[in-house]
């Protein structure tokens, strides 16, 4: 919303510069985006000029070569393209060096071989109006008569000087501030400076009527009209054009300009019909039939649904109510009789319709916020003044008013105790009353406070005590409220066990060399297809966005892997020699009806797990490195991880033989594995090891508090055995067999070496296992250990294992 300062001051003079007013407004609830200077044509290079001679350009039919007096000793030559330029005219000239409104700096130029020392300006170039058909002849404009047009006079002096314009951001609860007068009311409330009333026009001189039927008052609470005869359509005067252009609206003709001007002044949009083009001599406001087509002013045929409200004449639709007029009864230069419609519409329905049609206008933007049904009668009276004054018309009808039931605003009780209780500070009742009266509220004192009634234009926004308190607080200044702290009784701040686990895992991963990534929650089916080496799409119940910004961001990620792979690709392309990343974030599945999400811990390792140095290379980053990290994550949750063959079909991006499903008891936690080389290739990665665990499933494993187990004071007995088994036999199976056979005395068993080669038979491997025996109450004898070993040896035979060397 653009508010020119001079226009504002006509209704309430803020008595302070624009910048200061901007900050006062900001501190009372009206955000000022910025203050701009309108009328950039200031400075020495914009002057009045007089055209002395005009000759045809030798090489261009449409160009004239003019000699122009710009107040210097010698006239200058200017090449001009306007068809109406001629000797004797007084014109506005931009000299070389002038900075035009679009920011370009004017230079001397040669046009078809003739040097031009500047430019003669048209209306739109002067930011006065929209006219670019010809140059502006200053001496012809009646508003400018009497001004000093001596050649060389700065334009700022000869025309209206530039001014500051406030660009306001009006919050959706304040449609009343979508008009200059509404902002003037705010200035009045803030400063107490006098607020001028809006001038109304002469009473109508006739009592003509016009048949208007409103079929649905719920969607059209009020429809008013007045009839004007003897209208002369033509250009608006300079002051009106300047005002509209300062407010950001293009001038068109006097009738249309009046409707725009009044909308910008009062916030109430309106529509002027050419009375003689209203077919059938009547207007009907009705719901459209489903599929009904209407051609709007912009020459587009639009299809309506049954909720769309149409303004129709005797033969059919003429406008889409509240959104855009139709071409049928548009005002034209030939128009002599006008019906001025001022109505209000159901806000949410206008919003819905404008969404549906993809059609927004200055009018719909105001109507959709819901305009007070009192406003129309006021604005008809104001319009009468401009219509008679600027178009020479005569009002021949009183306001024709077709309204539904209009409920008066009801009083709201304001309790002083409630105000103090909500704000945490007291504001005297008398002061509250003063503020509210300035805001145009009706105020009556009551035993405990005030009874207040908002003005009609605030009635939709201010309906409850809290709303009244806000009005008082914002004018009094919310910033003056002293800072206190809540009593916070019984508020004990802490993290939940799940939240603590998450933090511990994050810290552990960072300490182990993994950097935390945050990748988009969005992915695409194309990207997911890259995870299937065969190109066969992964069968997943993908959660798809109905209105994505792009195809790349159209699906909610079912796993965090693609984002991490892209991040690895990004880093390798920028010279990184190793990438270690983790991400903890939501992943999604299901349908719109039954969406699911859980938090995943995702890991990626490309390259060595630690940086190499002059002492030698680091370990290769393989499956076992990342499994170690996964193991640590599971340990942090206090769970016992198990590893099983991965479901290859469900994880086509993994090498089946080098991947594992991670479990904890019955629960599946996730997976860890080496990335399939064909998938790695898709992301330009030499190789990668990746893992993903379900944090919620992991958190469910957090055990009850650990109970102490006695530590044996007797020294343990250790021995190493070498077990030869089939090369395919998983080590975990061998260890499980050993542990079972070892019984209570065997407190630990772990693999410390694996050997395949000449020393063992082909197809076999030798696992070196360290066994630790101990008992809580005694030192074990050699016999006891020997007995345990015999048992272990026997049991190993059941899985085809033999002690090496036996």
């Amino acid at each position: 919303m653009r508010v020119p300062m001079t226009w504002l001051a006509e209704y309430c003079d803020p008595g302070m510069p624009a910048e200061e007013l901007a900050s006062r407004l900001a501190m009372t609830g009206t955000e000022v985006e910025r203050v701009v200077r309108h009328g950039a044509l200031s400075g020495d290079n914009f002057v009045v000029g007089k055209v002395l001679t005009r000759e045809q350009h030798p090489d261009a039919d449409r160009l004239s070569v003019c000699s122009v007096d710009v107040g210097e000793d010698e006239p200058v030559t200017i090449v001009c393209g306007a068809p109406n330029v001629d000797a004797g005219q007084t014109v506005a000239v931009a000299r070389p060096g002038a900075v035009m409104p679009d920011g370009t700096k004017l230079k001397k130029a040669k046009l078809r071989g003739v040097e031009s020392n500047g430019m003669i300006l048209a209306e739109d170039e002067l930011e006065i109006g929209g006219d670019h058909t010809g140059i502006m002849q200053l001496e012809l404009d009646p508003v400018l008569s009497g001004r000093d047009f001596t050649p060389g006079t700065p334009l700022e002096q000869a025309l209206t000087p530039g001014e500051d314009v406030l660009e306001l951001e009006i919050t959706p609860n304040r449609p009343d501030c979508l008009g200059v007068y509404g902002v003037a009311r705010e200035v009045h409330a803030i400063t107490g400076n006098e607020l001028a009333t809006l001038a109304t026009g002469p009473a109508p001189s006739g009592d003509e009527s016009f048949p208007i039927e409103v079929q649905n008052h719920e969607l059209c609470p009020r429809f008013t009209a007045r009839i004007y005869r003897g209208v002369k359509v033509g250009p608006s005067p300079l002051w009106l054009k300047q005002r509209l252009s300062a407010a950001g609206q293009r001038p068109i003709n006097n009738v249309v300009d009046i409707t725009n001007y009044l909308m910008l002044l009062t916030g109430q949009p309106m529509h002027a019909f050419d009375l003689d083009k209203i077919r059938g001599g009547k207007l009907i406001v009705r719901n459209a039939a489903a599929g009904e087509k209407v051609t709007t002013l912009d020459d587009v045929e639009r299809e309506c649904d049954e909720h769309t409200v149409l303004v129709c004449d005797g033969e059919g639709p003429s406008a889409i109510a509240g959104i855009m007029g139709g071409a049928v009864s548009e005002v034209s230069l030939e128009t002599t009789n006008v019906l001025l419609e001022i109505a209000t519409w159901n806000g949410p329905n206008i919003h819905r319709t404008s969404q549906k049609l993809g059609l927004r206008s200055e009018a719909s933007g105001r109507f959709e916020k819901g305009l007070s049904p009192e406003l129309q009668l006021e604005v008809q009276q104001i319009a009468a003044g401009l219509m008679t004054e600027l178009t020479g018309a005569t009002g021949v009808s009183p306001t024709i008013d077709v309204a539904g039931e209009i409920l008066p605003a009801t009083p709201i009780e304001l309790r002083a105790t409630r105000l103090a209780g909500l704000l945490g500070t007291e504001i005297p009742v008398a002061r509250c009353a003063e503020i509210l009266r300035r805001l145009d509220f009706e105020v009556a004192e009551t035993a405990g406070g005030l009874s207040v009634t908002p003005p009609h234009y605030r009635a939709a926004d201010v309906t409850r005590e809290a709303d009244v308190i806000e009005e008082i607080a914002r004018i009094e200044g919310v910033d003056s409220i002293p800072a206190t702290l809540p009593a916070a009784r019984s508020a004990i701040g802490r993290l939940s066990p799940d939240q603590k686990l998450k933090r511990r895992i994050e810290d552990m991963l960072a300490a182990n060399g993994y950097s935390e990534a945050i990748t988009w929650s969005f992915t695409s089916e194309a990207l997911l297809a890259k995870l299937s080496p065969g190109g066969a799409p992964v069968e997943r119940d993908l959660l798809k966005i109905a209105n994505p910004l792009s195809e790349d961001h159209s699906v909610m990620r079912p796993l965090a892997l693609p984002g991490l792979l892209q991040s690895a690709q990004h880093n390798l392309a920028r010279g990184a020699d190793a990438v270690r990343l983790f991400e903890i974030g939501a992943v999604y599945a299901g349908s719109a009806q039954e969406p699911r999400e859980h938090t995943a811990v995702a890991l990626l390792l490309v390259g060595p797990p630690t940086a190499g140095s002059w002492r030698g290379e680091s370990d290769p980053g393989d499956f076992y490195v990342l499994k170690g990290i996964v193991q640590a994550v599971v340990d942090y949750a206090g769970a016992q991880a198990g590893y099983e063959p991965v479901d290859a079909a469900g994880h086509p991006y993994l090498i089946p033989g080098r991947s594992a499903r991670v479990t904890a008891g019955e629960a599946v936690l996730g997976w860890v594995g080496e990335l399939h080389p064909l998938v790695a290739k898709q992301f330009d990665l030499p190789h990668a090891v990746v893992a993903e665990l379900n944090l919620q499933a992991l958190a469910a494993q957090i055990p009850d508090p650990v109970t102490y187990e006695p530590i044996s004071t007797f020294p343990p007995a250790r021995e190493d055995i070498a077990v030869v088994v089939d090369a395919e036999r998983p080590a975990e199976e061998v260890l499980t067999t050993v542990r079972k056979a070892g019984g209570k005395l065997l407190t630990a068993a772990s693999v410390f070496d694996v050997y395949e080669g000449e020393q063992v038979a082909e197809g076999s491997k030798s696992l070196a296992i360290r066994l630790t025996y101990s008992a809580p109450d005694r030192t074990l004898t050699d016999d006891e250990v020997a007995a345990a070993r015999v048992k272990i040896t026997e049991q190993l035979q059941s899985i085809g294992g033999a002690l090496r060397g036996q």
């Binding site: 949410p348 916020k369 209780g421 704000l423 209105n547 990438v579 983790f582």
Partner: protein, 357 residues
Amino acid sequence: MSETVAKIQSIEAEAKVAIDSAATLAELEDARVKHLGRKALLNDILKSIATLPPEEKGPVGKAGNQTRGRLESLLRERQESLETAALTALLEQDRIDVTLPGAPPVAGGSLHPITQTRREIEDVFIGMGYRVAEGPEVERVHYNFDALNHSPNHPAREWTDTFYFSDDVLLRTHTSPVQIRVMEQHPPPVYVIVPGKVYRRDNDATHTPMFHQIEGLAVDEDVTLGDLRGTLLEFARAIFGDEREVRLRPHFFPFTEPSVEIDVSCFKCKGQGYLKDGSRCNLCKGIGWIEILGAGMVDPNVFGYVREAGYDPDKIQGFAFGMGVERIAFLKHGVPDLRLFYENDLRFLGQFGRGVA
């Protein structure tokens, strides 16, 4: 003095020289064998005492044993000194180039600056008695808009502004729906903050379609707007420095009434609007204040949606606030472009490594 005793003295003198002059442990061992060994002269003398005349037995035995004791002690001392010298020589040989780089510790990983900022904010509020609540990102229109008092035609509801899965299911546009979910589950008083990802259908220089918010909600019988101010003042000082002030500007949000925007005094120019060299502060754009969050007193209509859970709008009141984590991180760390937060460039992430949080 008997001849034997004199001999013993001469042996001792000779042995002392041998021990003292031994330059290596091997030479010392030779000296020991020669003078104190089983075949040594001293040993022979001591073994032959029995054959001596009775008047010589005493003096010779005493002198012999004393000499042996002294020589053994000398030998030990010399051995220790030679061993020390040998070790020193060995250590000297083992010199290393201490200027070579140290072996790298486990490579430094780091928490994402968003996580660091989120935790820092969480910890401030945990210290003030808040718990951390979380909620789903795929949310229902009811929780995201309706129960938060958004009018049916509120622009944020538009399909141009919000990601939808269906007419009823969307990606939450703020963390505020968790307010409702928390209140449904817990009767007042409630003090929670809600960190999480949120989504809006924006993608330009200053907006990303996904970003992070932290919501706060404090509801009790007597929580006031003054309490909101005090709470956010504590927050601003904890995050931006002890000298900070906050400023409240009236604003409009559907789910709070009154609503305010909170500015913090600029920490770059100390709220002056200009820097020491007189130039305009580019952080606050010369205003001296930086907008950091939106807040307000919870609208009675919002309580109306959870009245059944114990929230009678006439009896309880409270405040809510919401801030963008990226914005706070951007202000704190001067990150010039939002997209840096999502590229996961290790050169960027590494800057927020150990010791930053």
